[in-house]
Amino acid sequence: MEYFVQQTINALSVGGEYALLALGLAIVFSIMNLVNFAHGELITLGGYAMLFSAAWFVSDPIYLLPICVLAATGAAILFERVAFRPVRNAPETTGLLTAFGVSIVVQNALLIFVATRPKPVPIPDWMQGTIQIAGLHLPMVQVLETSCTVVAATGLILLLTKTNLGLAMRAAAKDFTVVRLMGIKADRVILGAFAVSGFLAGLAAVFILARRGAVDPMMGFSPVLKAFVACVLGGFGSLLGAAVGGLSLGMLEVLLQATLPSEVAGFRDAIVFLLVGAVLIWRPTGLLGKRVELGDKE
C-alpha cells in the first residue's frame, strides 16, 4: 500500500513537472505559433541565478526559490524582446529554428563564461526530507511539487477566465487580428504569454533543482524535450492537451521505471518515445487535438 501511494505521488509530481513546462510551451505556441525551443534555457538560467545569488548575497537558501522563479520569468521576457520579436509573423519553422539558435547561444555562453562541469546549488534542507501524511512517509519535494502544480494550474485557469488579459490571450489564440482590432495591444498580450510561460518554467525549475542539487549548461534540454513530447501527445497548442499530455507522460515514465527489468531500464526514454509515436500513428493530431481541415477557420 505504502509503495503504491509513493509511486502514485511520484508519478503525479513528475507528470506535474512536465505539465508545468508543457503549459508554458502551449500558451506561447497558441498565441504566436512559436515553438519555444529555448524554454529549457529558462530552467537553466533560473538555476544559475540561484547559484550566483547564493555566492554573492543570499545566505538563507529559502530566498533562492523566488529568485529562481523571477529569473526564469525575466529571461522569458528578455528572449521575447531580443530574439523572438523579429520573427513574430514568420512561418512556424523560422520561429522554431530561431529559438533553437537562442538555446544553443545560451548553453554555449554558460559553457564559456561559467563552467563545463555541474556546480552544486544550495537547497533548503526541509525540501530534501520526507513528510508524514496519514502514517505514510512521502518525499517532501514530490508532495510540494504536486500541490504546486495544482495551485499553478488553478491560478492559470483563473487568470485565463477572470481577467481581461486572460480573455485577450484566449481570444488571441483564435484570431489575433480581431483582438488587435478591439484595441488591445499585441505587445502586451505576447508579453503576458511569455511572462506566464517563464513563471511556470521557473516553478518547475525549483523542483528540478531540488532533485538534482546542481546546475550545468545542458540541464534544461531533457525536461523540455519531455514537455515537447507531452505537447505533441496532447495536441499541439491546446492548453488542456498540454496538461493531459504532461500528466500521462509522467505517469507512463514512472510506471515503466517501476516495472522495467534493470537490464532494459536504460532504454526507458526510447521506449516512452516509441509508445508516444505509436499513439500518434493512431491519432496524428494528438489525444485532444482536433482534426482541422485545411483552410478551416475555427
Binding site: 505556441f29 515553438v35 530574439a83 523579429p86 520573427v87 514568420a90 512561418p91 512556424e92 519553422t93 523560422t94 522554431l96 529554428l97 530561431t98 533553437f100 539558435g101 537562442v102 538555446s103 544553443i104 547561444v105 545560451v106 548553453q107 554555449n108 555562453a109 559553457l111 564559456i112 563545463t116 524535450l225 515537447f228 513530447v229 505537447c231 505533441v232 499541439f236 536504460g266 532504454f267 526514454d269 526510447a270 518515445f273 516509441l274 508516444v276 509515436g277 500518434l280 500513428i281 496524428p284 493530431t285 494528438g286 485545411l294 483552410g295
Partner: protein, 358 residues
Amino acid sequence: MGLVSATLLRSLAPICLLIAIAGLVMSIGEPYQIRVAYIFFINLTAVFALQIYMGGTGHASFGHAAFQGIAAYSVAILMTPLALKRLLIPDAPFGLAAVHLGAVPSILIALVLTGVIAYIVGLAISRLGGVAAEIATLAFLVIVHVIFTNWIELFRGPRAFYGIPSISNLYWGLGAAIIALLIAKLFRDSPYGVQLRAASDNLLAARAMGVPVERLRLLAWTLSGIVMGMAGILLATYLGTIAPSSFYFNQTFLIMAMLLLGGMRSVSGALCGTLVISIGSELTRSLESGPVIAGIDLPAMFGLTGFFLGAIIVLVMSFRREGLLGGEEFEDLFRQWKLKRKSAADETSADAPAKQEA
C-alpha cells in the same frame, strides 16, 4: 534537354569548384589540412542530404544525425576484423561477432539498412506534418542515441568503437559529395521536388491540384536518410573510430547552421553555407584553445564554436530568412544578373536617341 543532362550541365560549376578544392588540398596540403578538407566533404554530403528533406518540405529535421550514426555503426560492425571484434563486442547479438565482410558489401548493406529504417520512421513522420513532425524528428534522434549508448553488446555503449579499417581517402569524400550534390539537384528539379516545394509553399493549393504530399514527404525523407548514410560511412571509414556523441546535438546543429546560413531552399545555398562555416569554425577552433594573438594571451574558451553557430542561426532567421543565396541556385542568380545587365543596356540604348531629339 532531359532532366538528367540539364542537371549535369547546371551542376558543372559547383562540381568543378569541389574538384579544384580537393586537387589543391591534395597537391599542397599537409596531413592536417587534408583531414580538414575531408571533414568538409563529409559535412557537405550531410548538408546536401538535409537540404533534400528540409528544402523540399520546408520542415526542420533534427533527426538526420541519427542516420549518419546508423550507417557508420553498420559499416563498423560489418567491416571490423574478427580478432578485434572479439575484443570489442564479443557478445554481439544475431551472430554478428562472427561476421566479417569486405568494404563494398558492407557499404551497400549499411546504405540499404539506413534506407529501410528511414522509410519506417518516415511513415510516421510524413503523416504528422508541421510542428509535430519536427518534434518527432528530435525524439527520433534521442531514441537512436539512447539505443547506441545503452545497447552495449552491439554498440559498445558510450565508449568509442575503434579499429574500423581506414580505407577511404579525400577522393572518396569528393566523390560522395558530388553524388550527393547531383541527387539533391536532380530531386529538387524533378516533378516530385517541384510538387513538394509547391506543397510547402501552399499546402491547400497543392493538395487541391492532386499532389500526394505524404508520399512525397516520405520519398524526400528516405532519400535524404540514405544520402546522410553516405556521410556516416565516410566518417567511419576515414577516422576508424566512432562514438555515439559524434552523431548527436553538436553534429545536428553544425549541419543545421550550415544549411540555414546558405539558404535551405537551394542546393547552391547548402554548398555556400558549408564552405563559409567550415572556414569560420576552423578559425574559431584556434581561438577556442586560447592562443596568443598580438602579444595577448587569450583564455581558453570552450564552447565558442557552438556560440557562433547558434548566433548565426538566430541572425540569419531574424534578418535574412532565406539565407545568403535567398533560396536561389547559382544558375538562377547568373540568369538574373544577365537579365539585369541586358535590361540596363537596353535602357541606355533607348535613352540615347531620345536625348538626340531633345
